[in-house]
Symmetry: C3
Amino acid sequence: MLIALLTDFGLADAYAGILRGVIAGIAPQARMVDLTHQLPPGDVRRAAFTLWQASRFFPAGTIFLCVVDPGVGTGRRGVALLWEDRVYVGPDNGAATYLVVRDGAPSAYELTAGKYRLDPVSSTFQGRDIFAPAAAHLASGLDPARLGPTIQDLTLLPLPNLGHSGGTVHGEILHADRFGNCITSIGRLREQGGSLSLEPWLGQAPAASLPRAGLQVLLPGGITLPLLARFADVSRGEAVAYVGSSGLLEIGVNSGSAQEKLTLSEGQSVRLENRG
Amino acid sequence: MLIALLTDFGLADAYAGILRGVIAGIAPQARMVDLTHQLPPGDVRRAAFTLWQASRFFPAGTIFLCVVDPGVGTGRRGVALLWEDRVYVGPDNGAATYLVVRDGAPSAYELTAGKYRLDPVSSTFQGRDIFAPAAAHLASGLDPARLGPTIQDLTLLPLPNLGHSGGTVHGEILHADRFGNCITSIGRLREQGGSLSLEPWLGQAPAASLPRAGLQVLLPGGITLPLLARFADVSRGEAVAYVGSSGLLEIGVNSGSAQEKLTLSEGQSVRLENRG
Amino acid sequence: MLIALLTDFGLADAYAGILRGVIAGIAPQARMVDLTHQLPPGDVRRAAFTLWQASRFFPAGTIFLCVVDPGVGTGRRGVALLWEDRVYVGPDNGAATYLVVRDGAPSAYELTAGKYRLDPVSSTFQGRDIFAPAAAHLASGLDPARLGPTIQDLTLLPLPNLGHSGGTVHGEILHADRFGNCITSIGRLREQGGSLSLEPWLGQAPAASLPRAGLQVLLPGGITLPLLARFADVSRGEAVAYVGSSGLLEIGVNSGSAQEKLTLSEGQSVRLENRG
């Protein structure tokens, strides 16, 4: 069984390593891989995006141990969420929102059983004391119903902005990646002959189809970019919009950082429209 | 057999990856997990703390390959230290000090046998040439006595400051973690009814018990903080003292960095006392 | 079978994690280790160096999945290169150059077979869509000839500068590592009795032998350093030249950063000569 680790612990402290140690002790046969440990601290929305983006590339049955937990030590619940082909273990703080929207309602269990926690449970590191043990026991074949009672009222985040009217698509900047490419909420987009199909990735709006010719992307400050097939389609240092590897509209700079060059930041509005 | 890697190599260069390659070549069946590779360069004291903090969460028998080695290429010895339920392999520079204090004197072997080193041995990367091979051979079942002669006079670090008198506990700031939480040398602390028990984590002083009500933490510059149950007990941006996940007193800021907000640094004095 | 991952993806985004997920899905029995994910973005030359430096410490048969791919989405080819004891999978952009020079011409296959790619193939993340699947299928025993046609005209980088005349060796600064030690192109050097042998690591010049006594290293700005056995041979804060762990001349500062102290940068010229 594969456990994919996703946290905001960073890699400088021992916290991520300790999760690995706890898992190795409970489930020696489980395989562990890191999804990332460098989510922005406390950024539950980024965790939700990352799970949406990465999960479909993992094998069926993967357990995603997700510890982005700004509410640790408060009354927030811990949960195990089971879909037919994947599992989420972590706080009930909305990190699984986009999976719930995409994959449907999971079987949800609150992590209350003392038997499957470390003892004592700290108020500041429940990734170690509650979530890693739960993930490891599930990887060892534990019946999830033994972790605690089923629950229905999962915490969910608001969805990223995405809508369209009159041939214009409205969205927002989600975040920048390491290369300075800015991922937006506009997608999923697919080239289809002479048009571009839009199938909103989280169902925020009905599907639509846009005439492909002359499509442009409008950013704050009056910036206009062409929508091209790839960022290599412009000269080095030039900005471009393209459909990224997750089907979302991205803003990039060939061999540079769009975030820096265009001073983009999270939440800024983005429009895709035909100005032919 | 599990090998946990702990170095100050960082992750940008190939050094940590090369350790993994050497181990995979000698002990293909060994499992490897990273504890961390981002210890501050040359910081043996941090290595000692991290081993103390993390080791009890790893399964019995784990081999800790610890390469924080500012004395590489000098006369410092390499050692394998064996306790009943864990092993340290690395330089004899004090990184195992807190394990020795907590877990008792280990069987200690100096790593001198040429047969279990790479050939040639460099003067700058003995993690690759001496320590990773030794750890891998131990993981493969090698009798540790074949690595070299037993030794008695291990190098040990001074212990962190911790003492108490007249109801006041004295300690120091050890370091900050990724979130800016500052870990102190005051602990282990445990809530026990109406009092707080102190069992010095490295035996620096006798155990003690403090009346719980009115306990406050005093930092340099006249800063006084309440001792609360968790950092979520104060408003966002406010500082608080609490018992951290290792039982040590920590200074944190809810959704912020205590290190930055309070300009704390390693070695500064901390006091815990009742100012009713 | 072991797959070693080498990319410039960093560890903050999900990209490296997604590679691991794709591999785990196709080749559940394959072992994965990270060589590094923090190569400077787009730095193919650094990838080439890292493969040269690290590969000989990995077990025979290791598959190096190398995704440093500034040309993604352009016409650059993807390749699998097979030597007797290792495999390169990645873009045909020169990252394997130093392996080709050292280990000889590999069997080379262009990655064209749609059956061993994800569907669809994006224009921005072919590590996920083409290279990770190819590496995973090879780890599962796929005949490499099924990946695509053999090719002969591999893309190769220019080699680092290295030459000698009249007892003076000429080279360049390659890059600095985490500790600020600067690796140069001068090597491989070996102490041999009273002389220092030079066997150019990529065959850039004939072998040579230098009288050991009085050897000095000359850097830009008139800086002269002694060639000593190890950086611990000078006082803390002092600069020194020494033969590094890969047999290349390095410039270091004891307990400090040579890159900062001497303001060294990539491509600067370095000379090794006898000024006795």
